[in-house]
Symmetry: C2
Subunit: 462 residues, 2 copies
């Protein structure tokens, strides 16, 4: 028998890990609900045709495809066809409906768009939904990159109001405030500004090229970006213009004013500046002064995905070395992929695994999360076991999560278990305690032990 293992890039979550993850997910869930968003869940598997062609050629390759069942039961004439399709698998794995016609969810955005189109007659628009589910990608596993990982998305479709953008910015800031993440920066920009920038470079067709180059500013610096812009065919005048725009500084409003001067000749840029100003204005009316994060206009923010059309946003923390922990933006035609036109949407995504890693690295998880039940009753067997059961029942009836060691094992073994389980208290119901109708309550942290009534124990444990 070979040693059991799990597939590369996947993880088991132990009790402590599940509790910490639930803490993150529940914090977000409560905020989404507070802001009037509604939960959605879609199946782990989608029809392959729903997913292919949506994530680029590389994405298509990284989709996990499910082998059709019952292949072995086909008759001989089917088998010829199957062998033909198999030959196609060996050349192009995503166009073989006979061999595979289902695949694992690759993100939450496409299933959401698919759901909206399928249920368009039942949904009350604008539809504000959140979704927290795992996705799967056949990427090469490495530190912080998994083949099964969690996404957490929050979107509004069916409204073009910038109040939606503002609410999503508030949700980000409220979430990182509640989770206690320090030095969080929420960066915003507008795709319209980037389009205006391309116009001003006399290269409107190079909007994506400029975007892709700018996106690397953090990683490769301005020199690197200059080099890449040249390679992508932007001329020196254009590069100088981009430099002017990038170098705009000051408060958000100062930046926007300066951009109006530098980019005033582009209608698209002016539209972008206006939408950023309006979004920030709405945000300021809803924000809380308690939030320590910053909201910063960052003209170099690009976001890779090419379906964004308006405001874009990205979140990072300067407290640890880590990529972005969230991002999103306005998209004008996502449901168009499935035949429903004119349904503008805006959404943000939380990087659950990275947020978890930051909280872990900075030791920010609440201490109370580590164990469930906080008290274990020692089991001495016989009459004392009967007494222990009655105490256990009283504790639970009073709302105290408690467990009794199920076997009358050696005292040391039971204490070792309690220690490993991170119990805060142990109750010792032995002969003397039973005779006195009391219990010995031992504080596992201080080591202090005292004889108390069950009622007294309950009031301490509550």
């Amino acid at each position: 028998m070979s040693k059991p293992a799990i597939p590369q890039g996947t993880r088991d979550f132990s009790p402590v890990e599940v509790r910490k993850r639930q803490y993150v997910l529940n914090t977000l869930k409560n905020i989404f609900e507070h802001y009037g968003f509604q939960p959605l869940e879609t199946p782990a598997m989608e029809n392959l045709v729903t997913l292919t062609g949506k994530y680029g050629e590389e994405g298509d390759r990284l989709i996990f495809k499910i082998l059709n069942n019952g292949l072995d039961k086909k008759n001989d004439s089917d088998k010829e066809k199957l062998n033909e399709e198999w030959a196609k698998v060996l050349s192009k794995p995503y166009s073989t409906p006979v061999v595979t016609e289902r695949a694992l969810r690759y993100d939450l955005t496409i299933p959401f768009a698919r759901f909206v189109v399928m249920r368009q007659n039942d949904i009350a628009f604008p539809f504000r939904r959140y979704q927290m589910q795992p996705v799967w990608r056949a990427d090469r596993p490495q530190k912080g990159r998994y083949r099964e990982f969690w996404q957490c998305d929050c979107d509004v479709v069916g409204s073009t109001s910038l109040i939606n953008e503002a609410e999503l910015l508030c949700i980000y800031r409220e979430a990182f405030h509640q989770l206690g993440l320090p030095q969080v920066v929420v960066k915003i920009n507008s795709r319209k500004l980037l389009a205006g920038l391309a116009e001003l470079c006399n290269a409107p067709e190079k909007m994506m090229d400029i975007t892709i180059a700018l996106d690397k500013l953090d990683k490769i610096g301005w020199d690197g970006v200059t080099k890449e812009l040249k390679e992508r065919g932007v001329d020196d005048a254009g590069i100088n213009k981009i430099a002017d725009v990038i170098n705009v500084s000051g408060s958000n409003e100062e930046k926007l004013k300066a951009l109006e001067e530098v980019m005033g000749s582009s209608e698209s840029a002016l539209a972008g500046i206006k939408e950023l100003r309006d979004t920030i204005s709405y945000h300021d009316q809803l924000k809380s002064d308690a939030w320590t994060s910053e909201l910063v206009v960052d003209i170099s923010l690009a976001r890779g995905l090419n379906y964004y059309t308006g405001v874009i946003v990205e979140v990072a923390t300067n407290a640890v070395k880590m990529g972005s922990i969230g991002g999103g933006g306005r998209y004008d035609d996502l449901t168009g992929l499935f035949g429903l036109k004119n349904m503008s949407g805006v959404g943000v995504s939380f990087g659950i695994d990275r947020i978890y890693d930051v909280l872990e690295e900075l030791n920010l998880f609440p201490e109370a999360l580590t164990s469930g039940a906080k008290v274990m009753l020692v089991n001495f067997g016989g009459e004392n076991e009967v007494y222990a059961l009655s105490v256990l029942k009283q504790l639970r009836d009073a709302g105290v999560a408690a467990e009794l060691y199920p076997d009358a094992a050696k005292f040391d073994k039971q204490m070792k278990y309690a220690n490993k389980r991170d119990m805060k208290y142990v109750i010792i119901p032995g002969d003397d305690e039973r005779a006195a109708k009391k219990v010995s309550l031992k504080d596992f942290v201080s080591g202090e032990q005292k004889l108390v009534t069950v009622e007294e124990a309950i009031s301490i444990l509550q």
Copy 2:
């Protein structure tokens, strides 16, 4: 473009459905935690070798296998091997590591056993874990049977104490009590009794045959069972003995006493009677008088799975026509499959989808679950929008989940949305209200509307 769809046998869960499902899962989760159980989550995909051979030949066929990625990138010498393996797929789909080496989780029991073996040095035994995750089976979809469905398991491994059985029985009864399910019957039996029965029939090797026949008593009646027992080679004397045992009646203790007389010559049967009596005794010390469900010794209860070795349990409700909504039992060697011997376990499972269906059919879901935010603010645009935003902020700061319609759309359209979203209240912040620094609060159920201060609105909404 073809109409978007989801794979057969899978489901999207709309907001209302997610909320109802969460209500069921959270109720169970809180009980598990209260009883000192700990959460575990395992990956959706397991190595195929972990799953095959664990669920019988039919089970092996129903496992969803994942196509290996990168097949198209193999070179020509690889391709010969791939084609060979492909030929095997067409004869026996579960033995082809080159084509597929991963598969979707088929149940929660095998991944749990795999986890326990892998982490045996870190785990504090007895390990009490609960797990609530989807599983996937390539079964033919039909009413109430899905290809993606949720399991919810609660197990203890590493202890042979019958206190564990008793606690699991209490968890069942507490859960169905809290969920308000009427006419619930928790049936228990012991595999040792069934083994004793086979001994008494002079056919100890026919224990599984007798078990399988008895398991159908509810469906095919005693005549049907008699016929099947004959076919399976049980003689008339044996069938009469089985009839004596089945016909035992009265209270649980009366049944156990009568069984002692009828089956007293079998040591195995006596051991089974003792473990049932002890389990019930422990249960009685922990049970609550508030529980309306019944705990019934049912000697015809068999449970299909052949890894059970001790107490077995099954739950049904007589309030609706529906198969069992839960089941489980003691197994002595589950982790032995992965090389860890002598690790006895006992567990129960909740049929989440069926429990959901029963609650739905009997209209037992709490009404408050249907919507999230209970109040919507109408958006009249301009100055009134600014005023609405300030009211929205005050509501949320006071803990009231609220949403503002994001666009200044026609009043009727906004009211239609509020109605479809099942809002309990609508706040109308128009010119007059703004001038008076008040809001009109409209009760959407009664239709009543009154002018109040924001503070008054908050106290009503809280």
